[in-house]
Structure formats: C-alpha cells, structure tokens
C-alpha cells in the first residue's frame, strides 16, 4: 500500500507541476497508475467491486484535482470505474448462469449444491435486476444490501460451508481483480496504439493532390499524414507555426523528414491560405459531451476561417480524449495561461509588468492561453467528428458512470 501511495503522490506532483505533456502520455500514465492501485488494493471478503471502485475513486479525485484542465485524467478514471463495473456485472451474470445451471442439473459440485438453499429468491431477483440494468449509482446502492445480505444468510448456513465458500469467494475476487487488470491493460494498449488506429483511416480521407492545413503539432496528425503518404498519396501540407510555442516548426521538420511537401506559414496567414486548402486536419486536447472541442490555442480562428470557406474541419482524437462533461465557459474555465515570457522578454518590459501602487494593477498584461474552445457549430462539416457517435448513460444523480463510445477515431 505505501508504495502505491508513493506512486500516486509522485504522479500528483507531476500533474501539478505540469511535467506531463499531452493527453496521451497523461492518460496512459493514469491508467498505469490505476492498474497498480487496483492490483495493490486488498479486496475484502465481500463487495470486492465496491472496494475497488472506492479505491479508484479516491485516487481519481486526487488526480483530477491535481490538474483539472487535463480532462484525460478524469476520462481514464471514469473508464476504469466503468471497467470494474462491467467486469463485476459479467461475473455476476456468469455466476447467475452457473446457479441456474446447477439448479437444473444435480450432478454439480457438492459445495455449489449446498449453497443453493442459502440463496433466497430475493437475492436471485436482485441479481437478475442488476444484470438487466446497466450499472449506475442507483443499482450499486441497491446492490449494497444484497451483497451484505449474502454473507449474512451464508453465515447462518453453518461453519462447515463457510470455509469452502470463502475459498470460492476469494477465487472469485481474484478473478474479478484479474479481469479488471486485464481490461485496464487493454485500455492502456488502446491508448498507446490510438495513433495507428486513427492513421489507418487516413487513406479514406486524403486523396491525391490535396492541400491540407494544420496548426501547431500533434502526434496524431503527424501519424495520420504520414500514413497517407506511405500509401503513395501525394499531397501538400500547410503548417501554421502555432505561436508562441512554434510546435508547427517541429511538425514541419518531421513531415519534411518523411518526404512530404510542406509549407510553413505564420498563424496570421491562415485566413489568406484557407481558400486554397481542401481540408483542415488538427489534433485536439479534449472532445466535450456537446461535441465541442478543446484544442490548442488558435484553432478557433482556423475553424472560423474554414467555416467561412466551407473547408472540412477534421479533428483527430483518440478515445481517451472523449470527455463526458458539458463545457461551461470553457475558454476561461478549461484553460491555462502560460508564462508571458513566451511572448515578451521580461527584461524588455519589466518596468510595466510590475504592480503599481496607484492603481493596484500593472499597466501591461500579457495573455498567453493554452487552449481554445471550438464550438460544435463550427465542426458541422467535420467528417470524423460526425461519425463520432457517443452515447452517454446517466443516472438520476447526473453522474456519468459509463461511456459507450463508438467512433471511428479509435476503439
């Protein structure tokens, strides 16, 4: 347990100090951390799923609080919670099936048969109900007394059976943990391979002699373009440099190294060039529940220009970027202001950046946001996001417990 706590603290620190860059790295590390939390978590005799969920929730809340802007952390925590519930559900269903089976046939295991009278009709009904319903807070709450009731009834069954039952339970708990960890591994695998999965579809969207515009740098975009290039498509790419971080320079360098015709432009030339562009392909920071996109700064401008010239605006996003939250004032609340030194030399303007005694505020403010919010209305002509079909399941409390995502970006 202490070593997990150390891991968590370490990761929290990294998140707080913004040491981890990019949603992909963050989400992968979050998933790995949660995996170790799960594997280290001692599972109690009963209600294993509840214990795991509690543990993951406790860690997840800390992680989300450490960097509320990095929505991928929350997404991954939710996904892991979802996985636990799913696995629990499927185990229960399997057990139920086993029960039904044993009820019919008599040549079952002795222990199983001994258990039979213990399980009352109410328990079976509750289990059936919980299998029929998707897991939500309500069903979980309803589950609680049931699972509490099971040991109660079983304890009344007698000591001899208790021993064998505990062995069965522990094997089931190990099975649950094992399954959950397996599923989390799959999730990690998904996250690490999301670029390839997205890139696979490149040829379907990029044709010969196309002119593509992108802004800043995104690994997904790079892979996407290179995948199309590898399929012998020849097209040219305009890269807006993405001031003040100038990651567009990096992207341009990578693209040139891979033999793509690349033209580097300033961000201000986006509007001038967009009329000759066939498609805008950009990466995103997060995709919100309303379809809006939190994207690197500058993309709102690009999206507006693309809309003006009816150029498809395509956002590439891995599944870990899909966030079930609805944005409220995202430009301010889901944004981060970076250091002014990226824009101005401190030495150059040091006299005006100070707080003044007279007015209480400095004469000069420097604004350097990290993200832009692209409202869904600007994404109407986006082919990839349109295929993105998200189904959210909400319970009465409005807490979103499950994400069912079917989209072509990944999964």
């Amino acid at each position: 347990m202490p070593d997990v706590q150390a891991l968590v603290n370490d990761f929290l620190n990294k998140l707080k100090k913004r040491k981890i860059e990019g949603s992909q790295a963050t989400s992968r590390q979050t998933a790995e951390l949660l995996r170790s939390v799960i594997s280290q978590q001692r599972v109690p005799y009963n209600n294993q799923a509840g214990a795991l969920i509690d543990a993951v929730k406790a860690v997840g809340e800390q992680l989300i609080a450490a960097n509320p802007v990095e929505l991928a952390v929350g997404n991954i925590v939710r996904r892991v919670l979802h996985i636990i519930r799913e696995e629990d559900l499927s185990l229960t269903t399997a057990a139920m099936a086993g029960l039904n089976l044993s009820a019919v046939s008599d040549d079952e295991d002795d222990e199983e048969r001994d258990d039979l009278p213990v399980l009352s009709a109410a328990v079976v009904a509750a289990a059936a109900r919980s299998t029929l319903r998707p897991p939500s807070l309500q069903t979980l709450l309803e589950d609680m007394p049931d699972s509490a009731a099971i040991p109660h009834t079983s304890s009344s069954g007698g000591d001899s059976e208790g021993k064998s039952k505990s062995a069965d339970k522990s094997s089931r708990s190990r099975k649950l943990k094992h399954d959950v960890i397996e599923a989390v591994n799959e999730l990690i695998q998904d996250i690490t391979t999301c670029h390839e999965q997205i890139a696979e579809q490149a040829v379907e969207h990029i044709h010969q002699n196309e002119v593509i515009l992108t802004l800043g740098s995104s690994r997904t975009v790079l892979e996407f373009l290179c995948a199309a290039k590898e399929k012998k498509r020849s097209f040219r790419v305009f890269v807006a440099e993405g001031a003040p971080r100038y990651q567009g320079h990096l992207l341009a360098k990578e693209l040139v190294a891979r033999g793509l015709q690349t033209t580097l432009i300033t961000d201000s030339a986006v509007f001038a060039m967009i009329s000759r562009v066939n498609m805008v392909i950009v990466g995103a920071h997060a995709v919100m529940a309303n379809g809006g996109v939190i994207a690197p700064v500058g993309l709102n401008m690009v999206a507006l220009a693309a809309q003006k010239h009816a150029v498809p605006f395509v956002v590439l996003a891995g599944s870990h970027k899909l966030c079930p939250l609805y944005p409220h004032n995202p430009e301010v609340l889901l944004n981060e202001l970076r250091s002014p030194s990226e824009l101005l030399d401190f030495g150059e303007f040091s006299d005006c950046l100070d707080f003044r005694s007279v007015t209480g505020s400095p004469l000069l403010h420097v604004v350097n946001p990290t993200f832009d919010y692209v409202p869904p209305s600007l994404l109407v002509c986006s082919s990839l996001t349109r295929c993105l079909e998200l189904r959210w399941k909400e319970n009465v409390d409005g807490e979103i417990l499950e994400i069912l995502a079917q989209f072509i970006t990944s999964c």
């Binding site: 001031a243 690349t262 033209t263 300033t266 030339a269 403010h365």
Partner: protein, 627 residues
C-alpha cells in the same frame, strides 16, 4: 460655399436615391414627435454599426451603402445648381431647415432600379454632370485660382465620403477636380488611368525582359511556394551590400531615390504612409535637381524619368497601393502642366503639388480620421488593435489625451512583431494595455468592445487589403459580434477588385519564418532550411472581406454602415400606404401618404418625380438641420 463639381462617378454608382420635393408637410409639426418604429437614438452607434441594427442593415447593404454619393437621379440639369455641400438631392425644400430625404427601401426596389438605367439615361446623366461642372467652374472661377482646386476637390470628397465602389473614379476625380479649368479627361486619358495589369512573375518572357532593365540584380529565392509563382521573391539581403557600394557611381539614378529604394529593400522603412511620404519627398528632390535636356519637353522627359525611378523602387520592394496612387497623382500633375509654364515655374508648381499632397492626403487626412474615430471611443471601452498602424496609434493617443478611460489589447503576430513597438509606445504614454499573440485572439475577444484596424488599401468591392492577419482578427471579431472599424486614408483607396489574398500579394523574407527572434531555444528548423520539401511562406498582406468590416473611417467621414445615421439627427422608418392625384391637366399633382408609425406624412409634387414610388414600399426619412 462652392458647390461641388459633379463628376463621372455618379452613373456608376449602383446607389440610386430617389428624391421628391418635400411639399406640404410642416416640419416643426413632427420634429419633436417620436415614432415607435423609428430607430432609437442614433448616438448609439453600435446599434447601427457593429451589431447590424435593423435599420442600419438596410442601409448598409447597399454596395458601399450609406455614402452621400451625388445621387444619380435623372432630374433636369438645372436642378443641379442648387446642390449643397452635403450633396442633398436637388429639389428639396430647404425652407424649413430640415432636409428630408426619402430613400427607397432597397429590399423591394433596388434591382429594378439598377436595370432601369439604360444607356441613353446614362448619357443624359453625363450630360447633366458636364453641365453641372461647367456651372461649378463658373463659380469656382470667383475663388482665388490657387486654392480653388484644392478647396473644391476637398469639398467634393467630403461630400461624397470615400466609398469603395466609387473608387473606380477616385483618381479620375482627383484629376478632374484638380485640373479644374479644363474639361473632363477624354476617353483616351481615362484609359491610361486604368493601371496596367500587374506583372506576373510566372510569365517567363516578361520576367526576362524586366531583368535586363533592372538595376537591382536579385537572385531568385529557392524553394518557391507553388501557389505564389506569380509573385516576385528574391533572396533577402544579398544585393544590399552590392547596391550600397554602387551608391556613388550610379548614373541614372537620383541619390535621393536610391536612398529610399535601399531603405525599402532593407526594411528600414515600412508602413504605407511612411513609404509614400519618403517616396514623394525623394521625387521632390528629383524635381528640384531636374533640368530639361535639350530638344526634349519637360512633360515627357520628367514623366519618363519618374517612371524609371518607380521601376527601380518596384525592384526594391513592390509598390503599395497608396504609393501607386501617389505616383499616378504626380504623373497626372506633370501631364497637366500648362505648356506655357517655364521650367522653373513648372518645377515650383510640382514641388508645391507634392507638398500639398503630403499635407492634405496624408497628414491632414490622419488628423481628420483621428477626429472622427475618437468619437467612437467611450469610457470603459476595451479596444483591440492588430500589428502597428500609424492611424490607429494616433487615435489611441489622442483619445488618451482627451482623458478617455479605456484599455487597449494589442494583438501581434510573427514574423515582424510590430505590435511590440506599438505596445512600447502606448505603455510609455500610460495607456493600460494587454498584449497577446494572434492565436489567442478568440480568447481575448470576449472582453473587447471595439476593434480598430489599419489598412494598406481599401478596394472597390469593399475588401480591406492590409497586413497579414488583419482578416483573421476581423473574422474573429465578426464572429463575436464586436464592431470592426478600419481606419484608412482616402488616398489609399483603389479601384481594383480582389477576391482572395493570393492573386496579388507580396512575399517577404522566407528566412524570417524559420527563425524565431529572441527565442534561442526554438531552432527546430535550423538543419532543414535547405530541404527540397520545405517551403517557407511569408505573406505580407491579406484581403479582409467587406462583410467583416463594420465601418471604414476615412478623412471624408465614417463610411459604410451606419453612415447615413451618423449624418442625420433623426431617422424614421415608414410605409407608403396611399397614392392619390389631385387636379388635372397641366397642374396635376400627385400626393403620397406615408405612415411613420402613426405619424403621417403627405408629399405633393409633380407625378413625374414620384413615378418610382409604389404602394406598400418602406421608406426611411432622414432629417437634419442644414444651417
């Protein structure tokens, strides 16, 4: 007051204002009344200007709407002599001191109107204008001859407010009003005024020809962007030392011109106004030192000489549109010199002409722009500006001097980062500023109340041709419903039409793109600048579509949307509900009854004048005190 000359711009104007004599209504009767349908207070310019107020939208949707263009009404020429400075349509009753102007609601009527101007009608119009000009000339003759041209031209312009779609004739106007005494330029001259199509640099044979004549030997840049083959792009800085060394041995070139050319080349001199003034001053020097060679006439030889200097300057850096206009002005002045003038007289005239151009068209114009624009700044405003425009800077400083409380957002963009210099100057004056870069413009736009932009030129379709990035800022402002005010001196207007930023543009030094100044850690592209696949594109200008611009502020007033509202004290909106006729035979009178939300107006007049009026049309009634 000298009535402005009517010039040929009118027939081209799609804006047609139909006017009727205001007959029998009593102005004082309905002046104090407020009509519920009338636009609210016209001082609230935002309603008119930025957010596209209902009434404002109707007037603004005229192509270049809202300018008091001399109306192309087919009234008898005699009516033209009563034209006042504000160019009110003739035949209006001015007794009450209220000018009532009725405007056909364009939504119902503008199209058929446009079609109606047949060739014959246009000719009639031209005749009428010629007659008017003759009248104007007769009156203008009374004024001192030296100043009459200037004054009347100023009058003419202030009356007609710079209007994009009238620009086709702007230079003609200049010519027409300046030469004053003579007739309209004959067709041949007019043809000359239409500029040659620009040099297309993908046309190999022409480029070769041009190269032979060139003084500046430029090396073509590597890795050109395919889309921009038609624009010149040369290696930067290679020819500068070479040219500098040639400074003292260059025969055909005047040193003053040479110096200006080098300054253009090195980028020491930038900004439309600064470049234009420098060029004109250099030409002033040229003219001062000029002596007509034997067996040549001053007019021809000087024009040729100026032409060769201009092509040298183009080699250094492509001309801005403002410079093109200034050159055209100068050539025009040279061509129009009376043959009777001696050389010294001619030189003195040209010298003073250039002085006057600089003073009137640039320096005074800026002052007038500042005066107009300051009225648009209110306490608590957050003004956004992009890059560094001299006009906008003057406006901000002046507003600050007036004690207005406002904040400025300076948006900047690579590679020039001119905004930093502006920021330094504004902060030095104690104006509270926010500095940000291009990409964050949609973040900062939430708090902005007005956007002030400079322009390199305003084209005749209303497109604003300006520093690259202006279009982005205007677009984002438009999306956030923030009014965009473009400040542009009228001499920068041009009759060209441009639909995108690619057909005509200027390419800057590509290396400026790959090198991020002041940020040593960003040198990602150091190694691969020579790669075949990498092109660096440094555009200088872009074209802002007119729908993003709420208002153009020029030295002739504030143009485009809302300008009608700005010029009147009271505007009403109503509907024509009845047309009836009285009398018979020769003195038949038609009566129009228009309801302005319960306030009724009756107009009586000659049925011929009101033939355009139809039942159920909507009308604006604009009122203003004349004296």
């Amino acid at each position: 007051m000298i009535p402005p000359p009517r010039h040929a711009s009118a027939p081209l104007s799609p804006l047609r204002r139909d006017t009727v004599p205001v007959g029998s209504y009593n102005a004082s009767d309905f002046m104090p009344a407020t009509s519920p349908t009338a636009a609210t207070s016209s001082s609230d310019d935002v309603a008119w200007v930025g957010r596209g107020g209902r009434a404002g939208a109707a007037s603004s949707s005229f192509p270049g709407g809202g300018f008091d263009m001399p109306a192309a009404s087919s009234v008898p020429a005699s009516g033209l002599t009563t034209v006042s400075v504000v160019n009110l349509p003739p035949g209006l009753s001015e007794k009450a001191g209220v000018a009532a102007e009725l405007q056909n609601d364009r939504t119902t009527h503008s199209k058929p109107l446009k079609e109606k101007t047949t060739k014959a009608e246009r000719r009639a119009l031209q005749e009428a204008q010629r007659a008017a000009k003759a009248a104007a000339k007769a009156e203008g003759g009374k004024a001192p001859p030296a100043s009459s041209g200037a004054v009347s031209s100023a009058n003419a312009k202030s009356a007609k407010a710079a209007k994009p779609s009238s620009q086709k004739n702007d230079n003609v106007t200049v010519a027409a009003s300046e030469k004053k005494g003579s007739d309209r330029p004959p067709e041949k001259d007019r043809k000359k005024d239409v500029p040659q199509p620009r040099m297309q640099y993908d046309d190999k044979s022409r480029v070769e020809k041009a190269k032979k004549r060139a003084v500046v030997k430029q090396t073509e840049a590597r890795n050109r962007v395919e889309l921009f083959r038609h624009l010149p792009q040369y290696e930067h800085g290679t020819q500068l030392p070479d040219l500098e060394s040639k400074f003292f041995q260059l025969d055909p070139m005047h040193p003053a011109v040479y110096k200006v050319g080098l300054q253009y080349l090195s980028g020491d001199l930038c900004g439309g106004n600064a470049r234009c003034i420098a060029m004109l001053l250099a030409f002033q020097e040229v003219i001062k030192d000029y002596s007509t060679p034997p067996e040549k006439t001053l007019v021809r030889d000087l024009t040729a000489k100026i032409g060769s200097y201009v092509s040298f300057l183009i080699e250094c850096r492509p001309l801005s549109i403002s410079m093109g206009n200034a050159i055209r002005f100068l050539k025009n002045r040279i061509a129009k010199l009376p043959l009777t003038f001696s050389e010294s007289e001619a030189k003195a005239t040209l010298h003073s002409d250039i002085d006057r151009f600089i003073n009137e068209k640039i320096i005074l114009a800026d002052k007038v722009i500042v005066k107009h624009a300051v009225t648009k700044i209110r306490d608590g405003d957050v003004l956004l500006t992009y890059g560094s425009s001299s006009a906008v800077e003057m406006i901000l400083l002046h507003a600050h001097e007036l004690g207005k409380q406002f904040r400025v957002v300076v948006v900047d963009s690579r590679p020039k980062l001119e905004g930093k210099l502006l920021l330094r100057r504004l902060v030095g004056k104690g104006i509270s500023c926010t500095y940000t870069h291009m990409n964050a413009v949609s973040y900062i736009m939430h708090e902005v109340t007005r956007v002030f932009l400079g322009a390199s030129s305003v084209l005749s379709n209303g497109t604003v041709y300006s520093r690259v990035g202006t279009a982005c800022v205007a677009m984002v402002a438009h999306a956030f419903h923030v009014p965009v005010l473009v400040c542009c001196e009228a001499y920068k207007f041009h009759e060209r039409v441009q639909l995108d930023s690619i057909c005509s543009n200027e390419l800057g030094d590509p290396d400026a793109i790959s090198k991020v100044g002041g940020r040593g850690e960003i040198n990602f592209l150091d190694g691969c600048a020579n790669s075949e696949n990498l092109q660096l594109l440094n555009l200088i200008y872009d074209a802002t579509p007119s729908d993003y611009v709420s208002m153009i502020i020029t030295d002739y007033g504030m143009g485009k949307q809302g300008s009608i509202a700005d010029k009147y004290e009271y505007i009403m909106y109503g509907k024509l509900y009845k047309i009836q006729e009285e009398g018979s035979g020769a003195d038949i009178k038609a009566e129009l009854l228009i309801s302005f939300g319960g306030l009724l107006m009756s107009l009586k007049g000659n049925p011929d004048y009101i033939a355009e009026f139809q039942l159920d049309q909507k009308y604006f009634l604009c009122m203003r005190k004349l004296v």
